[in-house]
C-alpha cells in the first residue's frame, strides 16, 4: 500500500504529524508521544491479557514507532489511531497465541481425550454435512466474508456496514438474503440425494441455522439479534 497511495483528506492532520515526525521534528514527536502513546497503552489493555503482557505489547509497539521508518509507513489512508490500533492488535494477538500455546501444553495432560462420535445417524449426517458444505462453497467471496465477519468475528452489521459505507439495514438485507439462499440450496441438495425435507427441516430452519453457526463460530456479540432471525 505505498506507491500511488492517496491520502484521505479526513486524516490530513494525522499525516502531517507523522510526516513531521519522520522528518525529525522534535515538537511533532512530543505531540505523538503526548496524544497517541497513551492511546496505544490503553488499547493494549483491551485484549484480556495479563497486565504485564499488555504493557509489553504496548512497549513493543511504541518502541517500533520511535523509529522514523515505522512512523513513515503511515500514509493517511485510515485514521492514525486506527492504524495504531491495528499495530497493537497484531502484537496483542501474537502475545495471546504464545500465551495460550504455553497454557495448553501445561494443561494437556490433565484433559481427558474427547472422542464421542455417535454414528447411528451417519448417513443422515453425511447428507446434511455434504449438502451444507456444497452450499457454503458456492457463496461468493463477499457473501462469505459477510457471514464470517458477523458469525465468526462477532462484528455487528453496523460495524461491517461502516467499513464499506453501507447502512446497517443494507447489511441486514444482504445477510438475510444469503441465509435464505443457503437454506434453499441445502434443501435442494438434500432433495437430490433423496433425503426428504420434512426430515431435515427443523435443522435447517433459519433460526436454528443461526444457533448452530453461533454455537460453532460465534463469540459474544454486542446486543444485537442475528439479522432476520425468525422462529
Amino acid at each position: 500500500m505505498s506507491a500511488p497511495a492517496t491520502p484521505d483528506r479526513r486524516w490530513a492532520e494525522d499525516l502531517a504529524l507523522t510526516r513531521a515526525c519522520a522528518a525529525g521534528d522534535e515538537a511533532a514527536w512530543r505531540e505523538l508521544e503526548r496524544h497517541h502513546f497513551p492511546y496505544v497503552r490503553a488499547f493494549a489493555q483491551r485484549f484480556g491479557l495479563p497486565e504485564h503482557v499488555a504493557e509489553e505489547v504496548a512497549m513493543q509497539v511504541i518502541g517500533d514507532l520511535w523509529r522514523r521508518e515505522t512512523v513513515a509507513r503511515y500514509e493517511g489512508r485510515s485514521a492514525l489511531r486506527t492504524w495504531l490500533g491495528a499495530l497493537v492488535t497484531n502484537a496483542a494477538l501474537t502475545a495471546r497465541v504464545r500465551m495460550r500455546a504455553r497454557e495448553e501444553r501445561e494443561q494437556r495432560a490433565a484433559r481427558p481425550a474427547s472422542s464421542e462420535h455417535g454414528m447411528e445417524d451417519a448417513e443422515y449426517e453425511a447428507a446434511l454435512g455434504e449438502s451444507t458444505i456444497a452450499a457454503l462453497d458456492k457463496l461468493d467471496f463477499r457473501s462469505r466474508l459477510l457471514v464470517l465477519l458477523h458469525y465468526e468475528q462477532g462484528l455487528t452489521l453496523e460495524e461491517i456496514g461502516r467499513m464499506e459505507g453501507s447502512s446497517k439495514a443494507t447489511m441486514s438485507r444482504r445477510l438475510h438474503a444469503i441465509r435464505a439462499g443457503l437454506r434453499a440450496d441445502i434443501e435442494h441438495r438434500l432433495a437430490a440425494r433423496g433425503v426428504s425435507w420434512d426430515e431435515i427441516r427443523p435443522d435447517v430452519d433459519l433460526a436454528r441455522l443461526d444457533l448452530s453457526l453461533e454455537a460453532l463460530l460465534g463469540r459474544t456479540r454486542a446486543a444485537e439479534p442475528p439479522a432476520g432471525a425468525g422462529v
Partner: protein, 242 residues
C-alpha cells in the same frame, strides 16, 4: 517461493476506515473471505476499539464453546453438524488458500505462522513493498486466480472429515487414529479446533520445519498417507508429497 501474503496493519486499518480504493477493497475482501488469520485481526481490532474484545474471546470458534455446547440428543447433534459443516468449509477455504503455500520462517512456530501475519510492523522492511502492495497488484491477482483454479476445492478437502467412519483404528504412541474417508484422524480431534489445521505436505520446507519443531509428527505420519493429528492442542493435516 510462493507465499501467502497477509494484509498488514496498514491495509487492515485502511479497510476498517474505508480508505481503500474499490479495487483494493475487492482484493482485500477476497483475501479476508479465505484467511482466518487476517479476519481474526480485523475482528479483534474492531472489537477492541468498541471495548468488547477481552470478554468475547473465550470459547469462540469451537474450542471451548463448540465442545461445551454438544448435547447427546439427536436433534442437537444434527444442529451442530450444520455448524460443523459450515466451520469445516471455512477451515478448508482458509487452508486451501493459505497453509499449503505458506513457507516456514525461521524462529516462528508453525502455529504462529498460521495465525499471525508474516509481515508484521514490529519488524518492518521499509525497502520492500508492503504485503498489501503485492496483495493488490492486479497481475498477482490473476495469477492467483489461476493457482486457485488448479487446486482442489475446500469442500473436497474437508468432506472426508465429516463423513462417518466405520473403518478400523490404528494406535501410535498412545494416540488412536480412525480412517475417515481417505484420511486417518486422531481421536483427539474435535472438528474444528480453535485454529484450522495446518496442512503439511511431506517433503516441503514447511514439513521439515514442523518436524524440527515437533519430531513426534514423524511417527504419526506413518499412520497413513493422509493423517490429521492433534499435537500440543494444534491440528496438523499431513498430506502426501505431490
Amino acid at each position: 517461493m510462493d507465499r501467502m501474503e497477509h494484509l498488514d496493519p496498514l491495509a487492515l486499518a485502511a479497510f476498517q476506515d474505508g480508505g481503500l480504493t474499490s479495487g483494493e477493497r475487492a482484493s482485500a475482501e477476497t483475501h479476508l473471505a479465505v484467511c482466518a488469520a487476517c479476519r481474526d485481526r480485523l475482528g479483534a481490532q474492531i472489537r477492541a476499539a468498541a471495548g468488547r474484545e477481552a470478554e468475547g474471546d473465550e470459547g469462540r470458534r469451537a474450542g471451548g464453546g463448540f465442545a461445551g455446547a454438544i448435547r447427546p440428543d439427536r436433534e442437537m447433534r444434527r444442529e451442530l453438524l450444520v455448524a460443523a459443516a459450515f466451520g469445516a468449509v471455512l477451515v478448508g477455504a482458509g487452508l486451501w488458500w493459505a497453509a499449503d503455500r505458506a513457507a516456514p520462517e525461521r524462529g516462528a512456530s508453525v502455529q504462529e505462522r498460521a495465525a499471525i501475519p508474516r509481515e508484521t510492523d514490529s519488524a518492518p522492511a521499509p525497502a520492500a513493498p508492503s504485503a498489501a502492495d503485492r496483495e493488490l497488484a492486479a497481475g498477482e491477482r490473476d495469477r492467483r486466480a489461476a493457482d486457485r483454479a488448479a487446486e482442489p476445492s475446500p469442500a473436497e478437502d474437508v468432506e472426508s472429515e465429516l463423513l462417518a467412519l466405520r473403518g478400523g483404528a490404528r494406535r501410535v504412541d498412545g494416540k488412536t487414529f480412525r480412517l475417515e474417508g481417505d484420511q486417518w484422524v486422531d481421536d483427539a480431534w474435535t472438528a474444528p479446533p480453535g485454529r484450522p489445521p495446518l496442512s503439511l505436505v511431506r517433503g516441503t520446507d514447511a514439513w521439515r520445519a514442523a518436524l524440527a519443531e515437533r519430531p513426534a509428527l514423524a511417527r504419526y505420519a506413518e499412520v497413513g498417507p493422509r493423517v490429521l493429528v492433534v499435537l500440543d492442542s494444534l491440528a496438523f493435516r499431513i498430506l502426501p508429497a505431490p
